[in-house]
């Protein structure tokens, strides 16, 4: 394994999350009861997705400044892993919702927002395939990636907070205790932040594997300068 220290760290943190996550005592919070353990799996997925898509956007900006195909490869690999984390976040959320809200899908604003965000990034992948010329595809998808990011952030962060939502942070949250950073219980905090770091590092690891694969696959066209 190349540069193994952070990968081993990721694995250790995730093993810690899985074990401590199920063993520690969670506070009794109304209807949540033991399901609040899902906090260590569901929320880090979204942290991970936002971080990965932010870095993907930065690589798109870098590509536009200097058309090096390596930046484009980084951008698409990170976006793909971001999509993966989004799908996992939706699935973990659906599992949680089945027990707490009664149904896996409740047309909650945040659920709809993240589903649309997934559609936006799927469209990014479709766009890349629609343009046969490699440089043109990289340039145009870089433009789309940047545009999509600035629509994505309001979509998942600002809009769900403005409307009545079942998620914590929305208006009219009677049944849902606040699980935001400020009132996170101290014991849960001990597992939560390492979980965030662990899942994000795992996402980055998956992206780097993809990147190395694409770099080898495209090595004939990258170094033509």
């Amino acid at each position: 394994m190349r540069k193994s220290w952070w990968k081993i760290l990721a694995a250790v943190l995730l093993v810690y999350t899985f074990t401590a996550g199920f063993l520690i005592k969670v506070p009794e919070l109304g209807i949540l009861k033991e399901t609040s353990r899902n906090l260590f799996f569901h929320v880090p997925m979204w942290f991970g997705q936002i971080i990965l898509l932010t870095i993907s956007m930065i690589y798109s900006i870098l590509y536009l400044r200097k058309p090096d195909l390596r930046y484009d490869i980084y951008a698409v690999a990170l976006a793909k892993t971001g999509i993966l984390m989004g799908v996992l976040g939706l699935l973990t959320g659906a599992i949680w919702a089945t027990y707490v809200w009664g149904a896996p899908w409740s047309n909650d604003p945040k659920q709809i927002g993240v589903a649309i965000a997934l559609l936006i990034y799927f469209a990014y992948l479709v766009l890349r395939n629609a343009i046969p010329d490699i440089d043109k595809s990289a340039r145009i998808s870089a433009v789309y990636n940047i545009f999509a990011y600035f629509i994505y952030i309001p979509l998942i962060m600002i809009l769900p907070r403005m409307v009545e939502s079942l998620h914590p942070g929305g208006k009219g949250v009677e049944g849902n205790p606040g699980l935001n950073g400020a009132d996170l219980d101290a014991t849960m905090r001990l597992v939560f932040w390492p979980a965030v770091i662990g899942w994000t590092l795992l996402g980055v690891w998956i992206s780097t594997l993809n990147i190395r694969l694409y770099l080898i696959r495209d090595k004939n066209i990258i170094n033509v300068k």
Partner: protein, 218 residues
């Protein structure tokens, strides 16, 4: 720079006035769609009316804006590339599409009010919201049409790219337009929503002006 923008804008407007090709095409599209709606749902309730209105607006915008980019042939695009900068070109296109979309929005609103009854509490406020909506939709779709135009101008591609991206603004517009139906909003909510939509519009304009030069060079 203003002169270039004005010249490009004048060219588009004159072309439109003389040929009236897109205008009549979209007018026909709007009229037939609303007429089909009237046949299907004679007197829709307020919520259905609102939802249908914004969906029609969405499709009208996709058609109107797509036409404005599609009608330039390759040779003419090259000519524009030599005579004007990218920024002037995109600003002229944005302004032209805003004007076109405002016209189409107000026309479709008039047809909606005439053919499907008027459930509005506050018509003037709704007209304002429709104008804001028309502007917002046209801004996003202009940038998307520029992107799709480079990808072999596939009309389906513009729909695939466009619909997810327009959802935040559309949701905000639908929520805002409920205030014109007489629904009571808490203090300052209408202003907050309007500012948010305007903020998103300004962001889209800034992104279009910054990103278009990269799409331009070919």
């Amino acid at each position: 720079m203003i002169k270039t923008i004005y010249a490009l804008l004048k060219k588009d407007l004159l072309l439109e006035l003389r040929q009236q090709h897109s205008f009549h095409g979209i007018l026909l599209y709007v009229a037939s769609t609303i007429f089909v709606l009237k046949l299907a749902i004679n007197q829709p309730g307020a919520e259905v009316w609102n939802g249908l209105f914004w969906v029609i607006q969405l499709f009208v915008c996709v058609n109107a804006v797509a036409k404005s980019f599609l009608q330039e042939g390759r040779g003419r695009m090259l000519y524009f590339y030599t005579i004007s900068g990218a920024r002037e070109f995109i600003i002229a296109k944005l302004v032209y599409n805003i004007i076109l979309m405002l016209l189409m929005s107000l026309l479709s609103l008039a047809l909606f009010l005439v053919l499907l009854r008027n459930p509005l509490g506050n018509t003037v406020q709704f007209i304002g919201i429709v104008c804001l909506g028309g502007v917002s939709l046209s801004l996003v779709f202009t940038l998307l049409a520029a992107i799709a135009a480079k990808a072999q101008q596939n009309a389906a591609l513009m729909a695939i790219l466009g619909f997810p991206l327009i959802v935040p603004q559309l949701l905000l517009l639908i929520k805002l337009s409920k205030s014109a139906f007489g629904e009571v909003f808490r203090e300052g909510a209408v202003l907050q929503l309007t500012l948010l939509i305007t903020g998103l519009d300004i962001m889209v304009i800034a992104l279009a002006i910054i990103l278009f030069p990269f799409l331009w060079k070919d």
